[in-house]
Amino acid sequence: MAETLTAPLTAKDFATDQEVRWCPGCGDYSILAQVQKVMPTLGIPRENIVIISGIGCSSRFPYYMNTYGMHSIHGRATAVASGLKASRPELSVWIVTGDGDSLSIGGNHTIHLLRRNFDVNILLFNNQIYGLTKGQYSPTSEENKVTKSTPFGSIDHPFNPLALAMGADATFVARTMDRDPKHLQAMLLRTNQHKGASFLEIYQNCNIFNDGAFETFTEKSSKAQETLFLEQGKPLRFGAANDKGLKLDGFNPKVINLDEGHSADDLWIHDEKDIYKAQILTRIFDDPKMEGHLPRPFGVFYEADRPCYEEVMALQIEDAKARKAADLDKLLRGNEVWTIA
């Protein structure tokens, strides 16, 4: 045996002997480090953790985690994970995927996994570019983006991943970023805690093909102005001096300055359980270059309780077993038999 499991595990126990092969400076390193830090704190035996990935830079992830893992095929990690979770509900199943993998080639499986609500954790590394195939635009790339496959600018309108998840009736929808390790760790913990399909979008910098895509949100100079960190039961506040906030004007979110006669009591109070407000929140997706734009929210947008597919499946089986014994001879024999002497 490698080691006894009585000693508390550390991040090191989750590292493998495989050389990590992402480009130097890739945002994936930070995500890997935070996942390795968080995993030992979850109280889940290492052998019960399975990481399933598709294809893309992010999908190399399982090779670097000393758990069970499968590097599957492009877009299908969600479907592989669905079959695994359906048949082995006791396992902790994590899906590591990218914007191309889960929103383009595998978009169909992603939405169906969400509506079925398997109790799995989806970590969507969104870098808004195809890295592994060396720089084509992705389904989350902004319009007019010039890439190798769009020399005159992309004419594709991008997905808003969290709005898509809400549309597919996800029961946990959250966003974080590679450059904020503390927030990333906190979101990983919440993702794991949620019972049901958890959808965590992680803004991840691809320093080779799309460097700085999220720098407005991640750089110290602009982060406070441009981001809004959601906290349950707290007003939506942001700004360098925490002096701004969002309020709802009818169905429209509006920025207000707290020093202009508004108090914190006027602000929108965040409620993760409110599906209507969550849909407005995920729709806050303005281009930071746009005049009068709203700050980009991070944190848990929405969480709901809904029965998980694998649980209900197991209940149906238990119920069927209780009503009818598994008698193979009876099955093979059937009801209409004749005998030849």
Binding site: A79, V80, S82, R333, T339
Partner: protein, 614 residues
């Protein structure tokens, strides 16, 4: 009235009507009734392409052919002795399939001017009123009128009443063949027991049909077919898709692996999903996936977790699953891919049969991607064949393709069902701990079969990663080494080839071990070849029949068998697929007989083909 009873040896009946006329149900009931008497039989339902084509039209005709005999039968028959035609379209579509002198039982109400027009008969022409049917014995009955008459006391609407028409025909045939009706009464009770009105009306019409035969003087003779001389034992009627489902459940029970089916509905495979979904008491998990790709990849996920992973589909779905099959080959993980073939390419002929996915099963994937292929030859054979596919898959750690087709899927035959305890065991062992001197799991360390260990999540100390990238032998680490790739390609091929050491040798099904012609078949051509060769052997011709279950790898002795005959004939319902592989592997100048019409090869045509070669 005293009537003559004539004893017949072999009868083929075809029930034909609108797809809403209940002909499949009528056929199935008559089949079960026949089976319960120990008469051998074979059936072939002929579904229309459309779910509900316009009433009365040619594309809307649904048929069910049943052959029963006091001898063993292996096909549903080339031509009919009796055709039941519920309307003009049903007659027109099936007229060429009736033997000269055969009986045609027609519902005259289905030959009114509207029905004749819908069936494209020229204005003013009614086949019942001219001499176009003079070669046949036509029995005219106004089924609609007599059904309504029987139900005149019932309060239901006319449309509802007319739905019982098929029961009148069934009752009449029960009379004609001297049957009792107990099985159908039980069936109706189970189906409509809670709706007393519907139950009563069906029974009333069934009896009315029987009594009509019994009391009408026009019908002088009833017929009887004696029990067939079959092997002693207990039998039931079995259809192909049902047999696949039962074979999978049995394999799951005997191997101890929970069964997981990932499937997307597709004709003609959907009935396997339907059947397995009913048997949750055996711990069966059925997952109706969002598409064909999710169907197979979910099954791969389940297999990775230690289930018996299965996916079911037909040709178009096979094409969609190809990439995932490649993953299963790289993962070297057990998985059963069931292809119930139909006419192609593309959407092709969804309700018609074909054997045209063999080359796809052999070669239809990117890279060097060998997989074992097992095929079923008759409906009941599906049980044993799929059981064998599971054994190969789990013992050799490889995905296996199982080929059936539309003809087998929906056909039925008597099945001498096994006892659970008599089924061969399926031995397998998960790896549960590291061996002596092992520091960590070597996921691609191989045994004498070249199979790698199956270590499932949840096993402490065996954490490991696998994936679709080329991997180093033994360690499973990603490897781009040129020599390693060559080694791994060769190993994956050798692993499949080695299965030949673990399967039964090929047998001659019928005929001499050496001779003039070997008819070599696979899949659903079994019955036609069997019957044709039997007929020629009876005439003294040196002809033999061998039928493959294992299409990849071939049984070790197949080459030797082929050498024992002057000529080899390979009949297939495709444009020549097995023949390409046989020629490639054994350098034999085999001849093909290829029918690509969406319908089975008949015994009669095959006899002619073989005779020409003699």
């Amino acid at each position: 009235m005293i009537r003559k009873q004539e004893v017949l040896n072999d009868v083929v009946i075809k029930f034909a009507g609108d797809s809403g006329d209940g002909m499949q149900l009528t056929g199935t009931q008559f089949t079960n009734n026949t089976a319960l008497l120990g008469i051998d039989l074979s059936t072939f339902p002929d579904f229309p392409a459309e779910i509900r084509a316009p009433l009365g039209t040619l594309p809307g005709v649904s048929g069910f052919q049943l052959r029963f005999s006091s001898d063993r039968v292996y096909t549903p028959g080339d031509a009919c002795d009796v055709l039941v035609a519920m309307n003009a379209a049903a007659l027109k579509v099936n007229l060429t399939a009736i033997k000269k002198g055969g009986k045609i039982i027609v519902n005259t109400d289905g030959f009114d001017s509207k029905n004749l027009r819908l069936a494209n008969y020229p204005e003013g022409e009614n086949p019942l009123e001219n001499d176009s049917l003079s070669n046949y014995e036509v029995i005219k009955m106004d089924v609609t009128k007599m059904t309504r008459e029987a139900l005149k006391e019932f309060s239901m609407g006319m449309k509802e009443k007319d739905r019982a028409k098929n029961m009148f025909v069934l009752g009449f045939l029960y009379w004609m063949y001297g049957r009792d009706m107990d099985n159908t009464l039980t069936f109706l009770k189970d189906k409509f027991g809670k709706k007393q009105d519907i139950f009563d009306s069906n029974v009333k019409v069934l009896q009315a049909g029987y009594n009509y035969g019994d009391t009408t003087e026009a019908f002088g003779t009833t017929y009887k077919v004696e029990k067939a001389k079959m092997q002693a034992g207990s039998y039931r009627s079995m259809m192909g898709n049902q047999a696949i489902s039962y074979g999978l459940i049995a394999a799951s029970q005997k191997s101890g692996l929970p069964l997981f089916l990932g499937s997307y509905p597709i004709t003609p495979a959907s009935d396997i999903l339907h059947e397995l979904a009913r048997h949750k008491n055996f711990g069966v998990r059925t997952f109706q996936a969002e598409d064909e790709i999710a169907a197979i990849t979910s099954a791969i996920g389940a297999a990775y977790g230690g289930s018996l992973g299965v996916t079911t589909t037909s040709g178009p779905g096979m094409a969609l699953k190809a990439e995932a099959m490649g993953l299963a080959v790289m993962l070297e993980i057990p998985l059963i891919i069931i292809d119930v073939q139909r006419g192609g390419p593309s959407t092709g002929l969804p309700t018609k049969t074909e054997q045209s996915d063999l080359l796809q099963a052999y070669y239809g994937r990117n890279g060097e991607c060998p997989m074992p292929v097992v095929s079923a030859s008759t409906p009941a054979d599906c049980f044993d064949a799929v059981y064998e596919a599971v054994r190969i898959s789990v013992q050799h750690m490889t995905p296996v393709i199982f080929l059936s087709d539309g003809y087998i899927a929906n056909g039925a035959e008597p099945w001498k069902f096994p006892k659970a305890e008599d089924l061969p065991p399926i031995h397998l062992k998960f790896k549960t701990e590291l061996g002596d001197g092992e520091e960590k799991l070597q996921p691609y360390l191989r045994d004498e079969k070249l199979a790698r260990p199956w270590a499932i999540p949840g096993t402490p100390g065996l954490e490991h990663r696998i994936g679709g990238l080329e991997k180093q032998n033994v360690t499973g680490n990603i490897s781009y080494e040129p020599e390693n790739h060559q080694l791994m390609v060769k190993i994956r091929q050798e692993k499949v080839d080695k299965i030949a050491n673990y399967i039964a040798e090929q047998k001659i099904d019928n005929g001499p071990e050496k001779g003039k012609i070997l008819v070599l078949g696979w899949g659903s051509t079994y019955g036609a070849i069997k019957s044709a060769v039997a007929e020629l052997l009876a005439q003294g011709h040196p002809v033999a029949h061998a039928h493959l279950r294992h299409v990849r790898p071939f049984p070790k002795n197949l080459g030797d068998i082929i050498k024992n005959y002057d000529k080899v004939l390979i009949p297939e319902i495709n444009n020549g697929q097995l023949i390409k592989i046989i020629r490639d592997v054994y350098f034999v100048d085999a001849k093909g007989y290829n029918k690509i019409m969406g319908i089975p090869i008949t015994k009669t045509e095959l006899v002619e083909v073989i005779k020409e070669m003699l």
